[in-house]
Symmetry: C2
Subunit: 244 residues, 2 copies
């Protein structure tokens, strides 16, 4: 089906997916670019394809749109040639390393962290109540497709940690009282908690930690970017995991 | 001096500092927020202060502006209470670890890399000809003030590497042929080259490398964010430097 008007109802509906409220209401989100569309298709998540080119997809409803429409939907100066409406994923906890994010705010940081989590073999990512929405377009872009390779769940973090703390070794971070990652043994079941950009971990979350880690650094620098510190810690823990 | 009109000539001049051309022409750039203004003052770089509050700075010309003007200058939804026009830094090569960036494009990545470079004790950052401008407002914001703690120079990278390669051990990255960072000794004088986000190192830059490093990762993930991989490599090299 061809759509050429910016005022078309379907175009308006796609544009509304930029808002979290609309994504929550419809249970859908938008991915942009052929790499992400392919990954989403593999997972069976694609419900509508939006494309600049006249090609026929087997069973998925496909809409051919103008470049202007694609620009409006994606907010990109150079719009992709393809995008897709996907249904949200339904994930359950997998055995293995688990990352808990306590109120991460920046979409770019969340995307980068998801990408690194997959790179370093993490199986689950738990997002606390006020962590930025994983279906935010900026988050999706910066994951580079990796959000489809890890179980991502939004949970009350206190409740989640209460459930797992007898079976998991729980790592937090502490610039002052922490140990270096190489000073800890790492069991197969563990969780790493990363605090928010400005505030760090909330005090009620800190109490669940069995061990605190820190990354040695120059006194000139107060802290690293949240995506960088999360990535370095995941890299170190993955490197020294005791496989049974 | 008070300024209340958005059409004031000085306001226009400050707005133009968002453009690289204007920054190059005037040899100045803008920093935002009290943390960055304080850091720039310590380095003696501040030439004009722009503030929302009526306070007197000893010798530096100070302009009191409206919130609307501050918004316009900084493009921020929540504008800072203070900003400053600074003169560009004049840096020379310091002894010690040196980071070379080969055509890094994303401002956020460059800012993050500068922040991590200071954290891990790097003394110099060499930007290749087409690496994004370090005085770009987004770069400056993501350095979190760290750009004032390291010598940053823009150079023809081929020329620079020709000059240093007899005295420095030069590390590059290679996902296929590289060794793990822990498999290499690290002398006090070394350089690490990081390639661009999409393309990696240019072939003519690769030829200067004495050793290639890689970061072990899951086959599910093709690559890490450039800021993350640069940071992990700097962290690892800093950790195992042989101090003489």
């Amino acid at each position: 089906m061809k759509i050429e008007s910016l005022k078309n109802e379907r175009v308006k509906k796609w544009c509304h997916l930029k808002d979290k409220k609309e994504r929550d209401k419809t249970g859908t989100f938008l991915v942009e670019g052929s790499h992400l569309v392919t990954e989403a298709k593999k997972r069976g998540l694609v419900v509508e394809i939006i494309t600049l080119e006249n090609r026929q997809e087997s069973r998925i409803p496909t809409y051919i749109v103008t470049k202007e429409i694609m620009k409006k939907i994606t907010d990109q100066v150079s719009p992709p040639t393809i995008a897709a409406v996907c249904k949200k994923m339904d994930s359950t906890l997998e055995p293995g390393p688990t990352l808990c994010l306590d109120e991460i705010q920046d979409p770019g940081n969340l995307g980068t962290i998801i990408r690194s989590a997959v790179a370093f073999g993490f199986k689950n990512i738990i997002l606390s109540e006020h962590t930025v929405d994983v279906y935010n377009p900026k988050v999706i872009r910066s994951t580079e497709g990796m959000l489809f390779h890890v179980a991502i769940m939004r949970r009350d973090l206190k409740e989640f940690l209460t459930e797992i703390h007898s079976e998991y070794l729980i790592f937090g971070t502490d610039v002052r009282g922490g140990i270096k990652p190489e000073e800890s043994h790492v069991p197969p079941q563990y969780a790493l908690i990363i605090g928010s950009e400005g505030q760090g971990m909330r005090p009620e979350i800190r109490t669940f930690c069995d061990k605190f880690l820190y990354i040695p650094m120059s006194p000139l620098c107060e802290s690293l970017n949240a995506g960088v510190s999360a990535s370095i810690l995941m890299y170190e823990l993955a490197k020294r995991q005791d496989y049974e």
